[in-house]
Symmetry: C2
Subunit: 436 residues, 2 copies
């Protein structure tokens, strides 16, 4: 409530687009599974047919961006090679193979004679997706939205505008040829519009930011629309007194170096004091050999860690080959440290002691609590969801890695034969509440 | 983002209370089902033992409020008779009979050999409950919180301060005698503290407002903590061309007059033009005999409705014996009107035509869509949930009437044998993704 930024009021042009999208999304929500799968295949077909145009558009974006002198990392994300495009198209078809998240009956019961309650999953409505660079995201997000019967408002980085337009044009042709409304996908191209999207709470039901922590945080702080995502990923691994040291080193190493820029990479190692000498003696040379910079508290520096940590380190997501280390007196201290500094993404324990493992997993209130395995497993594909819409670190569901189920909600259907509540108040009718 | 109100920064005293509550809530989350049921029974016992003190405290509140000249309606809600107290105590025991919402396994699967994923329901953490008058709410909310393993921060109307303190003191004695931490229930008594609660996002995981639409709206607009609740309840009933007129009148009447102040009472009747003459001819005298004031569009006034409606009527929750009426040309017009004006709480259709019913129920995106029954059924108890924590009109779950499941979230537990992601990237291990 102390923001200085104010998301701009949507102008009439944007409101019109949003209304069009809302109406299209209602139509999309009414399509059946077969139609939606057919639409996905047609979307993929048109991406293939339009491959040349898409690659050319990307070349144009790339040249422009290079001339502007944008960073190498950004350029590499922007570049859409033939391989990347093909794999994106393949991805669109694969989304068709995921099982339909809508129409799942969660509750079915008789409330009273002739009065049947059903709770069924339905599309959320309109998704708002804001992402940086990576034009492949347009294909992925659009196909997930259509798969789940939603409409989608997309805003990509302006440096990828030509590419995004070419991709969306192909996707719309696919929708057109199927029975779906092509307005179910709406691409915004100006930054002003994407910021105004944050004020479209009457039209956009869920915002999914794809990009840097800073982007996610900015969006979370500037909209009342629910946001599916997470800002920081400060994950911890606690090496218990009763850990197998070789396993601990193997898992810690994987959690750090397998992909250091990922949100599920570990940032802080907590080590029980009783095992710290033996663990560090063996671990330090191994981490050194993998170019991992270790930054530790006083006690761990005494045991050979090269750099001393300050308070700031416990709350830093390095996203790099850097690992902070703290030696703790007991399990409770490890849990307290995690409760204080964890971003509630994923935190793990290495131990042979089941009691300690259970205490840790029960008391740490993060979306993922892991025992004897790498934090890097916290991922929708690895969990077997077939897709990952985002990872949420909020306390309420959906949390952790979210698959297609994050793009549906539910609705109560109540069917009667003229039933009225007064009959129950007066005792003429009774509730049976029978599961069906 | 244009609020002028700013929730006050929590002072050190409140922060200390919040921290104490947070720690207690972690302990509570670790208690088992038996302990929590025992605690509920002890809480009820102490309410009984302290009945005299509670009633005396309520007398004091009542006298004070009367002298201040507060409204009769408020006074009647404030008054805690022996009967109200007994039924509240009975309610606490009944919550113990509800099935445990925690520890439910939602997903269990093998990701790979020796790597087992479980998704299990767990308490949310700390609930923040802000309510007006009604001291009985303290008993109900506290027992639901303890039942689900949560801590709870309560703020009641200041006019009930003595009563609330006496009730909470008894509840805490019950917690003390059981194995639970008495700090799991925290009562705030100043308005300043309750407003500062809105800024306690580090401590409070969910806010449940109990009170007027204005209170709920105010809270929703002034906190980043998720809010379970709804402001308006503008429910519609559409009388289709193919409706049974007698059933339509019976259901419309029940939806309006069974309890007009409820959020699930109907506010607007939409009537297909083909049936409007016959329906209104029969319905108007019946509504008149029940003192329901009818306010209609031009066409319905021509058919005998006494008062003419203006635009404002379509967006008004009367909470009274007033019903607005609009005659529509077809089902689509009814759906459009609902999409525009519904608060997405509950909307119903009366028809003998299944196709029309299905179209209506599929296209109207409210939490509840009803066919041939009263909107007044939209209620957690009537749905058979055993309790109602709140009714949510948001697009995302939980929506509609929310039972105890609204007070739990879930967590992913992953247990391995030293598994690392690199083994999968390199092909040494493979994912099995087998449901267990």
């Amino acid at each position: 409530m102390t923001d200085i930024f104010e998301a701009p009021i949507p102008d009439s042009d944007l409101l019109e687009k949003a209304e069009q999208l809302r109406l299209a999304s209602i139509k999309t929500s009414q399509t059946n599974n077969k139609d939606r799968i057919r639409a996905l295949n047609l979307m993929a077909d048109y991406l293939e047919k339009n491959s040349n145009e898409i690659i050319e558009a990307n070349d144009e974006d790339y040249k422009k961006a290079k001339n502007k002198g944008i960073s190498k990392a950004l350029l590499s994300r922007l570049k859409l090679s033939n391989e990347k495009l093909s794999s994106g198209i393949e991805g669109v078809r694969k989304v068709g193979h995921l099982s339909d998240p809508t129409g799942q009956i969660q509750i079915k019961k008789e409330l009273s004679e002739g009065l049947i309650l059903e709770r069924k999953t339905v599309p959320i409505g309109v998704l708002g997706v804001i992402f940086e660079s990576r034009p492949d995201a347009v294909m992925q997000i659009s196909s997930l939205a259509i798969r789940s019967g939603n409409g989608v408002m997309l805003k990509g980085g302006s440096e990828a505008n030509f590419t995004n337009l070419a991709i969306v044009s192909a996707l719309k042709k696919g929708l057109q040829e199927s029975n779906l409304d092509e307005n179910s996908i709406c691409l915004l191209t100006s930054r002003k519009d994407s910021m105004a999207m944050l004020n479209l709470e009457k039209y956009v039901n869920l915002i999914i930011p794809r990009g840097s922590n800073a982007l996610v945080k900015f969006i979370q702080e500037n909209t009342r629309i629910p946001v599916l995502g997470h800002a920081d990923g400060i994950c911890h691994l606690y090496i218990d007194e009763k850990a197998d040291i070789d396993m601990a080193i193997k898992v810690a190493l994987d959690s750090k170096i397998q992909y250091p820029a990922a949100c599920n990479a570990v940032e802080t190692l907590l080590i029980h004091k009783e095992i710290s000498f033996n663990f560090l003696k063996k671990a330090i040379p191994i981490f050194n050999s993998k170019d991992v910079k270790l930054i530790g508290d006083k006690k761990s520096v005494e045991l050979g860690v090269a750099f001393e940590a300050n308070y700031e380190d416990w709350q830093t997501e390095y996203l790099d080959l850097i690992l902070s280390i703290k030696i703790v007196d007991h399990l409770d201290e490890a849990i307290s440290h995690i409760q204080k500094f964890s971003s509630k993404h994923t935190d793990g324990i290495i131990t042979k002691n089941i009691m300690n493992a259970n205490k840790f997993m029960n008391e740490v209130d993060s979306a993922g609590v892991f025992h004897n395995c790498s934090t890097r497993f916290a991922d929708g594909f690895r969990y077997g969801f077939g897709a990952e819409v985002g990872i949420s670190t909020q306390a309420l569901p959906p949390r952790g890695p979210v698959g297609l189920e994050g793009l549906v909600t539910y609705k109560y259907f109540l069917r009667g034969e003229g039933n009225i509540v007064d009959d129950f108040s007066s005792g003429r009718s009774i509730y049976t509440h029978k599961d069906l």
